[in-house]
C-alpha cells in the first residue's frame, strides 16, 4: 500500500463483538463493542466515533478503511438472507437438496441434512442442455425462462441464482438467462454459477451460487448504508473488504461476490499470525483465535497459512464435516469449533460436561453480562476462576456480575454434578480447552502435520485467557500473545495484502498441452483480476501467481501446482508443469505413479501487491530484567485448573497492567496481565517475557512433565 498513506482504520464485525483499530499519527488506538445485530453499521459508526474522539483524528485524515464482517456468515447460519430463486436445467431441480446423497454421521439414524437456501417451489426448470465440452445439446428455450418470471415475482423473490449444468465449460446459456431475468425483474439481484464458481461438480457450484445470491441483497444494502454513514461523517477515503482467502478486495467486487467475504475475520487473524511468525522467526505456528462465539485454529508453516478452495458454512451437526453448505471459494484453511466466551455449558445424559456449540452471543450474552442470560458460559467460568481482569473487560465498558455467574454455574452444572460452583467452572474450562486441543490435533493430522513443536499465537478476546492451558494440553512449549491481542483480526486487516484470485475450469491432458489456449486463458484471467485489483492497489507494484489444478488421469481430486506465465513462453511448458506436478504429488502422497497420464482441470491466477519480506525482530535478551516489585499491581485469586496437587485451589496472583511492562521485562507465573480488551493468564510454573514489539512470550517450563490420560 505504498500509494495510500499511513492513517488507516480497520473494522471487524464478529458474532459477538465489533473490533476497531485506528492507526493514526504513528499511534495505534483500539476499541471493542458488542455487535449490534439489528443494524451492524450502527455499532461500527459508534466505535468509529469513539476512536475519533479518543485519538483526536478527523475523518478526512483517514487514508484507507479496511473492513471485514461476519454478516454474510450469520445470514447464512440464521437463514436471514433474501427470498432466493434458482433457475436450473430442467430435470435437475433437486441438485441443491439431494446434495451428495450421503450421511455425514454413520451411526446416527436421526441426522438431518442442511436445509437448502432455496426451497423446492422456487427451484424452477429452464429448458436447455450443454454437454461436458460445453457444446449445446438442447438450445435455450427462452419461453421456459419467461414462464418462471411470474412465479419469482409472486413469491417475492429478491435474488435469483442461475445454475445450469456444465456452465463452467460454457457460460452462454447462463448469461442469456441472467439478461432475461434482469430485463423482466430489474430490482432483483442476479448471480450466475459460472461467474461465482466456474468449476465442475454441480452441487458445489450451485450451492456456492445460491449462497452468493442469498446474501447479495443484504450485503449490498449493508455496504451501501455503511458507505453513506461514513460519507455523512466526512470520510472520503476508499474502503477495501477482507476476503475469506486472506486478500483485500474492492467494494464493487464485494457487492458482486459477497460470498467471498464469509469468514473474513478469521482470515485477518491468520494474516496477523503469519506476520508474527515471521517477526519472531518461527516457521511452525498454530494460530489460535478465540472470540465470543467460536475458536479458530490455523496452521502456519514457513510464514504462510494453508489456503484451499473448499469450505463449508453452517456445519449444523456439531461443526461436523459434511453437515454444512459447501462453498467453493478461496479460503484460509482452518478449523472452527463452537468454543468461545459465550459458549454454553450443560451436563449431558452421561453426566459429562458439554460446552458449546451453542452460544449466548451478545444478546443476552453470558450470565455475568447481567443482561438476562441464565445459561452458564465459558466467560462465566473464566470469571469465577479469577482469569479475567474485570476493570478491563471490553474496555471497561461493561461491569461483570459475579453473583449471576456463580448462580448460573451452580444451576446449570454444579447442582446436577454435586459440585461447588468453582469446581463446575474448572470443569467447564478444562472441557473447552480439551475440545480445542482435540480440534487442533484433528486438523493437523488431516494435513499430515504435528502440533507440539509449534509456537502458539493467541489473540481474540478469550484466547489469552485459555492459551497457556491449551498449550499445556498440546505439549506446546511457547505461547505468543501479540500487542492488542483482543482485537487481533482487525490488526490482521491492516497487514493484509491487496490480492484477488480468479479461477477457470478448462480440461486438458498434459500430453496434449495447448500452449496457445492456456496463454489466452491466462490473459483473460489477468484482465479480470486487474479490473478488481487496480482500484485497490493504486500504482503499487503487483506480483502474479498462477496455479494449475492437476491430477493423474482418472483421479477425483486435484492438487495445486504453481507456475509463472513466463513458463508458458519456454520451449517445453508441459515439461515444467509435469515436473512440478510430480514433485508436488510426491511431497503430498509419498510416491509418484510412473508412466501415468496427467491432466489439468482448472487454473487460477492471483494478482497481489508485492509483500516485502518481514525481518525477524530478534529476542530482547540484552534487555531482560527481572524486577522484584510490581508497581501498582493488585492481587486476585486465580484457581488452578491444571491437574495436580493444587487442582481447584485458589492461589493469589498479581494482576498487572500490560501497558506498565517494559520491553525485556520477565515475570514468573502465576500472574495476570490485563489490557483493555483481554487478560493474559500466565500459569504457575511458567514465565513470560515482553518482546520488542510488545508481544508477551510465555515459556511453559513444565510442559514436558505433564501427564495426559
Amino acid at each position: 500500500m505504498t500509494k495510500v498513506g499511513e492513517n488507516r482504520l480497520a473494522v471487524d464485525i464478529g458474532g459477538t463483538f465489533t473490533d476497531l483499530v485506528l492507526e493514526w499519527g504513528g499511534q495505534r488506538y483500539c476499541d471493542k463493542l458488542l455487535t449490534t445485530h439489528q443494524d451492524p453499521a450502527l455499532g461500527v459508526m459508534q466505535g468509529i466515533q469513539q476512536l475519533l474522539d479518543t485519538s483526536g483524528a478527523r475523518p478526512a485524515d483517514i487514508d484507507l478503511l479496511l473492513h471485514g464482517t461476519t454478516l454474510a456468515t450469520n445470514a447464512l447460519i440464521e437463514r436471514r438472507g433474501a427470498v432466493t430463486g434458482l433457475l436450473t436445467t430442467a430435470g435437475h431441480r433437486d441438485v441443491l437438496e439431494m446434495a451428495s446423497e450421503n450421511r455425514f454421521e454413520q451411526y446416527d439414524v436421526n441426522i438431518d441434512r442442511p436445509i437448502p437456501l432455496v426451497p423446492r417451489h422456487l427451484r424452477l426448470p429452464v429448458v436447455e442442455r450443454l454437454n461436458a465440452q460445453g457444446d449445446v445439446l438442447v438450445p435455450l428455450a427462452e419461453d421456459s425462462v419467461a414462464a418462471c418470471i411470474p412465479t419469482l415475482r409472486d413469491a417475492g423473490v429478491t435474488s435469483v441464482a442461475i445454475g445450469l449444468l456444465h456452465a463452467y465449460a460454457n457460460p452462454a446459456h447462463e448469461l442469456r438467462v441472467a439478461e432475461m431475468v434482469h430485463a423482466a425483474l430489474p430490482q432483483v439481484s442476479v448471480t450466475t454459477s459460472s461467474a461465482v464458481c466456474p468449476e465442475i461438480r454441480e452441487y458445489e457450484r450451485f450451492s456456492t451460487a445460491c449462497a452468493n445470491a442469498y446474501v447479495k441483497p443484504l450485503m449490498a444494502r449493508y455496504l451501501r448504508d455503511l458507505e453513506h454513514a461514513l460519507q455523512g461523517l466526512g470520510f472520503g477515503c476508499p474502503m477495501l473488504l477482507m476476503t475469506s482467502g486472506g486478500g483485500l478486495t474492492t467494494l464493487a467486487a464485494a457487492r458482486e461476490f459477497p460470498i467471498r467475504l464469509v469468514e473474513s475475520g478469521p482470515a485477518g487473524g491468520a494474516i496477523l499470525a503469519a506476520r508474527l511468525a515471521a517477526e519472531h522467526g518461527s516457521d511452525a505456528v498454530l494460530s489460535f483465535d478465540m472470540g465470543g462465539t467460536t475458536a479458530k485454529l490455523c496452521l502456519i508453516d514457513e510464514g504462510q497459512p494453508l489456503v484451499s478452495r473448499a469450505f463449508e458454512v453452517d456445519r449444523s451437526y456439531r461443526f461436523k464435516k459434511g453437515s454444512g453448505l459447501p462453498i467453493r471459494i478461496p479460503v484460509v484453511e482452518m478449523v472452527e469449533i463452537g468454543a468461545g466466551g459465550g459458549s454454553i455449558a450443560a451436563v449431558d445424559a452421561l453426566h459429562r460436561i458439554q460446552v458449546g456449540p451453542r452460544s449466548a452471543g451478545s444478546e443476552p450474552g453470558p450470565a455475568c453480562y447481567g443482561r438476562g442470560g441464565e445459561q452458564a458460559t465459558v466467560t462465566d467460568a473464566d470469571l469465577a476462576l479469577g482469569k479475567i481482569g474485570e476493570a478491563e473487560f471490553a474496555g471497561g465498558a461493561m461491569r461483570l456480575d459475579h453473583r449471576a455467574a456463580l448462580q448460573a454455574l451452580a444451576a446449570q452444572v454444579g447442582t446436577p454434578l454435586a459440585l461447588e460452583p468453582t469446581m463446575a467452572a474448572v470443569g467447564i474450562s478444562e472441557t473447552v480447552d480439551e475440545n480445542m486441543a482435540a480440534a487442533s490435533r484433528a486438523h493437523a493430522a488431516e494435513w499430515g502435520k504435528g502440533v507440539s513443536d509449534r509456537l502458539l499465537v493467541a489473540f481474540g478476546g478469550a484466547a489469552p485467557l485459555h492459551a497457556a492451558r491449551l498449550a499445556q494440553i498440546l505439549r506446546i512449549q511457547q505461547v505468543l500473545i501479540p500487542a492488542n491481542a483482543g482485537v487481533g483480526s482487525a490488526i490482521g486487516f491492516l497487514l493484509a495484502p491487496v490480492r484477488y484470485e480468479v479461477v477457470r475450469s478448462r480440461y486438458m491432458r498434459l500430453s496434449e498441452f495447448d500452449v496457445a489456449m492456456v496463454v489466452e486463458l491466462i490473459n483473460e484471467m489477468r484482465v479480470e483480476a486487474h479490473q478488481v485489483i487496480d482500484v485497490a492497489a493504486g500504482d503499487a507494484p503487483l506480483v502474479e501467481s498462477c496455479n494449475a489444478y492437476m491430477r493423474y488421469q482418472g483421479q477425483g481430486y486435484e492438487i495445486a501446482v504453481s507456475f509463472s506465465a513466463s513458463d508458458l513462453a519456454t520451449d517445453s511448458p508441459h515439461q515444467i508443469l509435469g515436473d512440478a506436478f510430480a514433485a508436488a504429488y510426491a511431497a503430498l502422497y509419498g510416491r509418484v505413479i510412473p508412466g501415468q497420464e496427467v491432466e489439468i482441470l482448472s487454473w487460477t491466477l492471483a494478482l497481489g501487491v508485492e509483500v516485502a519480506k518481514v525481518p525477524a525482530l530478534g529476542a530482547p535478551a540484552q534487555e531482560l530484567s527481572e524486577e522484584s516489585g510490581l508497581d501498582g499491581a493488585s492481587t486476585q485469586d486465580l484457581v488452578v485448573t491444571m491437574p495436580g496437587p493444587q487442582h481447584g485451589q485458589a492461589l493469589p496472583a498479581p494482576l498487572v497492567q500490560r501497558a506498565t511492562l517494559a520491553v525485556g521485562r520477565l515475570l514468573h507465573g502465576p500472574v495476570l496481565i490485563a489490557e483493555p480488551h483481554t487478560t493474559t493468564v500466565v500459569p504457575m510454573g511458567s514465565q513470560v517475557v515482553v518482546q520488542r514489539d510488545g508481544a508477551l512470550l510465555i515459556n511453559l517450563l513444565d510442559a514436558g512433565d505433564i501427564q495426559h490420560a
Binding site: G91, H92, R93, D94, V95, E97, M98, S100, E101, N102, R103, F104, E105, Q106, Y107, V109, N110, I111, D112, R113, P119, R120, H121, R129, N131, A132, L165, Y168, I200, R201, E202, Y203, R441, A442, H443, A444, A445, E446, G448, K449, G450, V451, S452, L474, R475, Y507, Y552, Q553, G554, Q555, G556, Y557, I559, Y589, G590, R591, I593, Q596, G704, H708
Partner: protein, 523 residues
C-alpha cells in the same frame, strides 16, 4: 485417533482413480493393533468395508505373522473371504514401525471399477467367472514393488491404468495414516500405542455392553422377503439379547444362489452388526471393542455364509438389506428408536459401451424415523456418496437427462418415508450401451411401521425410439438399444404411524414442494 483414520480416508479419496471411489467415498480405512484388532475407523468408511475389514487384518497376520513384517512392506488381497466380500474390493495392509518395532497396522479398502471376468454384476455362476483373484500377497516387499503381481493385475483388468492407480492410492492412504499416527505419538510423547489400544477397546466394549444391558433380554424373530435374482428370497433373523451380548442368527434364511448375489460371512457380519449399532450404542466409537458384543451366525453354505467358489459379485444387493431385517427384530424391543424400512440397497448401475465404463451410485429414500420423516435419496445402510452428474458426463458419453426427486414415492404416515429419485439416460451418439443391474425393492417395497404405508417400489424401464415402454428386471446385464432411453426410479422409504395423524403443517410443506404422498404409486 479418529483424526488419523479420517486423514487416511481423505488421502484415499483425493488420490483414488475409479470414479466410484473418488466421487462416491466407497472406501474405508482403519487403524489396527499389532494383534489385528480394529482400533478406529474413518467416518467416511462404508459399513460393508469397515466391519468386514475389521476381520480381514487378522487373516493377513495369519498368512504373515507379525515378526516377519518389515518397514516398507505392503500386503494386498481381493479375496472375498479375506477381504470385503467381492473381487472388486482390494484391501491393502501396511505396518507402522517405531524404532524397528511394528506398533500398528493401517488397512484400507476400495472398490476398483473392473477386475475382468464378466464385469461387476450378478450374472456369474461361480467366482472364476467374476474375474481376477489375488490371494494375500506382497505388493511391496521392504519398499520394493512386486512387479510380477502388478503385471498380472494389469493384464487381467479392462482398465489397467485405473487399477494400477487405485492400488497406489491405497498405499498412499495407508502411508498418510502412518505419518499422522507418528506425529500424534510424537505430540503425546509416546513410542507405541501400548496401553492406549487396550484402553480404547475395553472402554468401547464396556460402553456397548452397558447399552445392551438396557434392552429387554429375550429372543426376537423377524423375517422379510426380498426380490432375489429371479425368484424372491426369504431372510430370517433370530435376535437373542442377553445382559452383555446380542446374537444374530440367520438360520432358516434362503440357501445359496446359482448367481452372483451370495454373501461371504464377513460381509453378512458387517451389515448385520451395523443394523444393531446404528440404533444401539451409536455414540460408541466403531472398533473391535464395540463390535465384540455382537455375534453373527449363519449356516455355512447358505446365501448369507457363502462358501468358495460361489459367485459373490453383487453381494451388497443382499447384504445391504440385512439392517432392515435386524431392525425388524429391534422394533419389538425399542419401537420408539427404530426407523421404518428404506430403499436400503444402493442402486449402482454399471454402464458400459464401446469405450467407457462408469459405475455411478444412486439412492432411494430412507424409512421414516422416530418423530421425523425419512431422508430423501440418501444412502443407508451404505455410507457412500453419489457421483456428480457433471463428472459422469465428463467420463462417459451418456447424458443424464433427469435426476430429480420422485414425488409421492415416500410411504405415507404420520412421518413420511424419504423420497426416491427418477433418472433418465441416453447415449449422446444414440449408440447402444449395456447396464448391469443389482437393484432390489422392485417387487417388495420398503414396509412402513406402526401403521405407516410402504414406500413406492423401484422401477426400471426403457423407452424405445418409437415411444413404447419395456420393463426390465432388477438384476442382470441388459442392452439398451440404439437411441433408447433408460429410466430408473429408485424406491421410496416406508412411512411411520397413521397417515391421518400427519400434521397439517407437514402436509402443506409437502404440497408446496410438490412431493406429497398420494397413496400407492401410479404407473
Amino acid at each position: 485417533m479418529l483424526a488419523i483414520v479420517e486423514e487416511q480416508a481423505q488421502t484415499l479419496m483425493r488420490t483414488a482413480f475409479s470414479t466410484v471411489v473418488r466421487e462416491a467415498g466407497d472406501l474405508s480405512a482403519g487403524l489396527f493393533t499389532p494383534r489385528g484388532e480394529m482400533l478406529a475407523q474413518a467416518v467416511t468408511g462404508t459399513p460393508g468395508h469397515v466391519n468386514a475389514m475389521a476381520a480381514a487384518v487378522g487373516q493377513f497376520l495369519q498368512v504373515r505373522p507379525l515378526p516377519q513384517w518389515r518397514a516398507g512392506d505392503v500386503m494386498l488381497t481381493n479375496d472375498p473371504w479375506h477381504g470385503t466380500g467381492h473381487l472388486n474390493d482390494f484391501t491393502v495392509v501396511t505396518p507402522v514401525f517405531v524404532e524397528q518395532r511394528c506398533i500398528a497396522l493401517f488397512a484400507s479398502t476400495s472398490h476398483i471399477a473392473d477386475v475382468g471376468g464378466r464385469g461387476f454384476g450378478p450374472d456369474a455362476n461361480d467366482l472364476f467367472e467374476e474375474g481376477l483373484q489375488i490371494p494375500i500377497s506382497m505388493l511391496f516387499d521392504a519398499g520394493q514393488l512386486n512387479d510380477t503381481l502388478m503385471a498380472i493385475v494389469r493384464a487381467n483388468v479392462r482398465d489397467p491404468v485405473v487399477a494400477e492407480g487405485d492400488l497406489y492410492s491405497l498405499c498412499a492412504c495407508n502411508d498418510a495414516g502412518a505419518k499422522a499416527l507418528l506425529h500424534l505419538l510424537q505430540d503425546f510423547g509416546l513410542k507405541s500405542l501400548a496401553g492406549i489400544d487396550e484402553h480404547i477397546l475395553a472402554t468401547s466394549a464396556r460402553a456397548m455392553q452397558a447399552q445392551i444391558a438396557q434392552l429387554e433380554a429375550g429372543v426376537y424373530t423377524h423375517q422379510t422377503v426380498i426380490d432375489g435374482y429371479r425368484n424372491p428370497l426369504t431372510l430370517r433373523c433370530a435376535m437373542t439379547i442377553s445382559a452383555t451380548q446380542i446374537q444374530l442368527d440367520f438360520a432358516g434364511s434362503a440357501g445359496a444362489s446359482r448367481f452372483g448375489i451370495n454373501v461371504p460371512l464377513p460381509y453378512t457380519q458387517a451389515y448385520a452388526s451395523f443394523g444393531v449399532r446404528c440404533v444401539v450404542g451409536g455414540d460408541v466409537p466403531n472398533n473391535a471393542g464395540s463390535l465384540q458384543p455382537i455375534e453373527v451366525l449363519a449356516p455355512a453354505g447358505s446365501l448369507l455364509a457363502a462358501i468358495r467358489p460361489s459367485a459373490v459379485s453383487a453381494r451388497h444387493a443382499i447384504g445391504q438389506m440385512l439392517p432392515d431385517l435386524v431392525l425388524g427384530c429391534l422394533a419389538q424391543v425399542i419401537p420408539d428408536r427404530v426407523p421404518a424400512e428404506g430403499a436400503s440397497c444402493i442402486w449402482n448401475p454399471v454402464f458400459r459401451g464401446d469405450d467407457f465404463v462408469i459405475n455411478p451410485i444412486y439412492n432411494g429414500g430412507t424409512g421414516a424415523r422416530a418423530g421425523k420423516d425419512g431422508l430423501a435419496t440418501t444412502a443407508f445402510p451404505s455410507g457412500v456418496r453419489t457421483t456428480p452428474t457433471e463428472i459422469n458426463e465428463a467420463t462417459s458419453p451418456l447424458v443424464t437427462w433427469v435426476k430429480e426427486y420422485r414425488p409421492g414415492s415416500g410411504g405415507a404416515g404420520e412421518f413420511r418415508g424419504g423420497l426416491g429419485q427418477r433418472l433418465e439416460f441416453t447415449h449422446q451418439a444414440a449408440k447402444a450401451f449395456t447396464v448391469s443391474k443389482m437393484f432390489d425393492r422392485i417387487d417388495h417395497p420398503a414396509a412402513g411401521r406402526q401403521g405407516g404405508e410402504p414406500g413406492a417400489p423401484g422401477r426400471v424401464f426403457v423407452i424405445t425410439p418409437d415411444g413404447s415402454r419395456v420393463t426390465l428386471k432388477g438384476k442382470g446385464v441388459e442392452t439398451v438399444a440404439n437411441g433408447a432411453r433408460l429410466v430408473l426410479e429408485t424406491p421410496g422409504g416406508g412411512g411411520s404411524g397413521d397417515p391421518q395423524a400427519r400434521l397439517e403443517s407437514a402436509r402443506l410443506r409437502d404440497a408446496l414442494a410438490g412431493i406429497e404422498s398420494t397413496g400407492p404409486a401410479d404407473v
